[in-house]
């Protein structure tokens, strides 16, 4: 069997997957809602300079002004326009979500595939590390790492990514363990393909479904994680408007300015909700069972 024919084995599956996608997303109203809302937020992030009416850090003496024509969502305790801050905050939230998950997906899957494929002492070392990390709740790990590295965008991303690493490694490993037994892997091995090629070309594509679903869910957790860190003052920076920070700052003033407690949280919830809707639809489309995660 040639390499081409090996790959072609997967083609019907991919085609099937695509049609299932279409079927699921055309029926699932929640997923449609998710796509539209998330799309709006992505647009807001990309076009923040055009959409935001004010500089998000520009202070005025119009402190804690109620929502009005000139300030759609009111102003905060330093007279900054809340709407502009939330719009700019979209950039950070989405970026942290995607960057974090990309990072932990790449490294987590790498560890998981190596462990599952080679077994033996490699598996043992990687699994012991993962067990160790498993002994700490994710958020505690992130808090701790930010304390070690200091605050800042990169540090927050690395901290959350490290905290999620074990989830991806576990899933990838268990998928590889199952797939390793499959005939097409044996066939590839018989053909004398390199381990790297087998892992990348043959195993990984077939293991992707649960990983994609996990990644989607993780984006929402990462966004919540960043918001929580910012809320505790362990976030991106002191003057970058992020949703968690806006909420944390506003908390002292909510009885005088309710809008400071409502709108930033609403933004977080809408984005996370959209991602969860999409993730759920993906799960159906990819036929991933909850127990695979």
């Amino acid at each position: 069997m040639s390499d081409a024919s090996l790959d072609s084995v997967d083609i019907p599956a991919v085609a099937k997957r695509r049609s299932r996608f279409r079927a699921v997303f055309s029926k699932d109203r929640k997923a449609q809602f998710g796509v539209v809302v998330l799309g709006l937020f992505v647009l807001a992030a990309l076009l923040a300079p055009l959409i935001a009416p004010y500089d998000p850090n520009e202070m005025t003496l119009d402190m804690m002004g109620a929502p009005s024509g000139s300030h759609l969502l009111g102003t905060d305790d330093l007279g900054r326009d809340l709407f502009s801050r939330i719009v700019w905050g979209t950039q950070i939230s989405l970026f942290v979500g995607v960057a974090t998950v990309t990072l932990s997906l790449v490294f987590g899957v790498l560890l998981g595939v190596l462990a599952g494929y080679y077994g033996g002492w490699i598996d043992m070392i990687i699994m012991r590390y993962i067990d160790l990390q498993w002994a700490f709740p994710n958020f505690i790990i992130a808090v701790y790492l930010v304390a070690v590295f200091g605050t800042g965008l990169l540090n927050v991303i690395v901290a959350i990514a490290l905290a999620f690493l074990d989830d991806f490694a576990r899933i990838a490993r268990s998928m590889v363990l199952t797939l390793k037994q499959e005939q097409f892997v044996d066939a590839a091995r018989v053909q004398g393909f390199s381990d790297a090629r087998i892992m990348l070309r043959h195993i990984l594509p077939n293991a992707m479904a649960p990983i994609i679903v996990q990644a989607t869910v993780s984006v929402s957790y990462a966004i919540l994680g960043e918001a929580s860190l910012s809320f505790l003052g362990l976030g991106v920076s002191a003057d970058t408007p992020t949703w968690g920070l806006i909420l944390s700052d506003g908390r002292s003033f909510i009885s005088r300015a309710w809008w400071l407690g409502i709108f930033p949280g609403l933004a977080i919830m809408l984005v996370v909700l959209s991602i969860n809707f999409i993730g759920d639809a993906l799960r159906d489309a990819l036929d991933v069972r909850e127990s695979d995660l």
Partner: protein
């Protein structure tokens, strides 16, 4: 009495307080002045002046006529919130390091002496005392029949025990307060004798004072043995007007009237419940809903003041507070570098580094800052000498200082230094604590608006920030001092080359001095501290203060205000308004 008369009398008292020969270890006080069961107001003032703790603010309250008291009867439980703190970590006098802690212990533990609001140093556990002619030997007679809250008798043995405990740096952090004591003897059950290494007139008011001294705050041997250190730190047993019946870490402190207190008239209240409250909103909710009637602890967040003032159920009493906050500029960091401040001002003004410093100081729009960052509750600062020091405070500095707010002047200086319109100016990091982050943001915004430069606010936990400040590892830092009542606190502690905050852990090979070093300021600071005549001292203080301001030791920002808030149910008699303390023993509820 009219205000003018009050001021005149106060100034006369101040003059008198400082009228002694600084070389005289007894400060011109005779043996008779020092003995008895009360030190006269005149003597106490002089002792405070000599000990570096006298302020105009302290002199005035006692002169004010006492307001008629609202009808009140004894009893009742007062609910108090302790602001800005999640837990009271320790109440063991040997370990106390925070004002909000000794505000509590002053109600629970006693010293041999305590100062009242009239600035008369009274015997607390001491009934009377005598001083030898050479000022070296203090013989103290204690009250008879004193008992600790646990029923143990309190006598001379407890004084000796406390001394031994507090003089051991392994057991107490206040050993330096009593380092001048050569030995302590028990003469009989009620009499002890302190022998000093050198005469120290402030011994009674500083070392033996119950609240601020903390070294000779009498602890109970029996309770310490029975409870162990840790439990004693939570529920210390003393001889004070209230005893602690409940306190666990992070929880409330419950004080109950001590029936066997030596003064049967006090306390008036049946008890006080102190709840630590972290966070602004919960604090406001608690006093507005009537859950608490009194706020002590850390300074109140400024945004609450207007809200409380407009509430007719609450009383808000605001006074100038001690201390100052500044923007510290590291002179070893470009572009604010100044290697030598010992040049005439005109010469300094030729240096680019100095131009930048002056520009950064001149650009500080203090009025805007106070309004935006402190909601109006602060006093613009141009030096470390604050309004709570009354007599020494220089009202005119806002106009005369080189640092006076002047946006055009600041812009011109920055342009001359090579950064026209802020162009090419590096992004400096402004270090704050998490609590002062908001203030830092306001400063950064002012710099952006006035100078067109960007400053990045960098909040760091106090433990990290203070380490970097001590090592001179920072660009800009927002910080300062909170407890300055005497010019010494502002000058000696901060402005001298040898000041304890002036880069103590820096790399001295690379940095010969810390944030500031100026020979004339050093000389003036020393001279004022030994100058007896108040008018002369004031001139020296103001001269030093203006020099630090003109030569931009730092960009001075604001002085805090002292805000007391309680509900109208609480009667706080004038005697209870002792600066920095919340003594509940005379307060009542109506």
């Amino acid at each position: 009495m009219k205000n003018d008369d009050l001021m005149k009398r106060a100034q006369q008292e101040l003059r008198d307080a400082y009228d002694f020969d600084p070389r005289d270890p007894m400060f011109g006080l005779s043996r008779d002045d020092m003995r008895g069961n009360k030190i006269s107001r005149r003597a106490t003032l002089r002792l405070l002046a000599a000990g570096g703790a006298l302020t105009m603010a302290q002199v005035l309250p006692g002169l004010r006529p006492k307001p008629a008291m609202a009808a009140a009867h004894g009893g009742g439980i007062l609910n108090a919130a302790w602001a800005g703190v999640a837990e009271i970590t320790t109440l063991d006098p040997a370990q106390i390091g925070q004002v909000l802690q000794f505000q509590i212990t002053s109600n629970v533990l006693s010293g041999l002496m305590h100062i009242n609001n009239d600035l008369v140093a009274e015997g607390d556990l001491a009934e009377s005392w005598d001083v030898s002619e050479d000022g070296l030997v203090y013989t103290i007679k204690m009250r008879d029949g004193l008992t600790f809250h646990n029923g143990d008798v309190c006598n001379a043995d407890d004084v000796i025990f406390t001394y031994n405990r507090s003089s051991d740096p392994d057991q107490s952090r206040h050993s330096s307060v009593i380092a001048n004591v050569a030995n302590v003897e028990k003469l009989n059950d009620l009499e002890v004798r302190f022998t000093l290494k050198a005469p120290q007139a402030s011994f009674l008011t500083k070392a033996l004072e119950r609240a601020s001294g903390r070294a000779m705050t009498i602890v109970s041997r029996g309770a310490l043995e029975e409870m162990g250190l840790a439990q004693y730190g939570l529920t210390p047993v003393g001889t004070g007007p209230f005893r602690i019946t409940e306190h666990e870490l992070g929880g409330r402190v419950v004080l109950e009237k001590f029936e066997n207190y030596f003064d049967p008239e006090r306390p008036k209240l049946d008890g006080v419940i102190i709840q630590p409250v972290d966070g602004t909103e919960p604090l406001a909710a608690a006093i507005e809903a009537g859950d608490v009637d009194y706020i002590g602890g850390n300074p109140l967040p400024g945004e609450l003041v207007d809200r409380f003032k407009s509430n007719s159920d609450l009383t808000v009493d605001i006074k100038p507070g001690p201390g100052f906050q500044s923007i510290w500029m590291n002179p070893w960091v470009e572009p604010m570098q100044v290697a030598d401040f010992n040049k005439p001002l005109d010469e300094l003004k030729q240096e680019n580094g100095f131009k930048v410093r002056l520009a950064l100081a001149k650009a500080l729009d203090r009025d805007l800052f106070v309004q935006q960052a402190l909601f109006g509750n602060g006093i613009p600062a141009y030096g470390s000498i604050n309004a709570a020091m009354g007599f020494y405070y220089d009202n005119g500095l806002a106009e005369t200082s080189e640092q006076a707010f002047d946006p055009e002047g600041a812009q011109a200086l920055l342009a001359e230094a090579g950064f026209p319109g802020g162009e090419g100016f590096p992004t400096l990091r402004l270090q704050t604590t998490p609590n002062t982050r908001r203030a830092g943001l306001v400063v950064a915004n002012i710099y952006k608006q006035v100078l067109g430069i960007s400053v990045e606010v960098d909040p760091k936990e106090f433990s990290v920030g203070i380490e970097e400040f001590n090592k001179m590892d920072f660009d800009l830092r927002l910080g300062g001092s909170g407890g300055d009542y005497d010019p010494d606190d502002g000058l000696i502690d901060w402005m001298m080359t040898s000041s304890k905050f002036n880069g103590p852990f820096r790399d001295t090979a690379e940095m010969p001095f810390g944030f500031f070093s100026e020979a004339e300021v050093d000389a003036l600071s020393v001279e004022q501290s030994v100058t007896a005549d108040p008018e002369a001292r004031r001139a020296l203080v103001q001269q030093a203060n203006k020099l630090t301001s003109d030569k931009v030791c730092c960009g001075f920002l604001y002085h805090p205000v002292d805000i007391l808030v309680h509900s109208n149910r609480v009667n706080v008699p004038t005697e209870s308004r002792i600066p920095g303390l919340h003594d509940f023993d005379r307060m009542t509820l109506s």
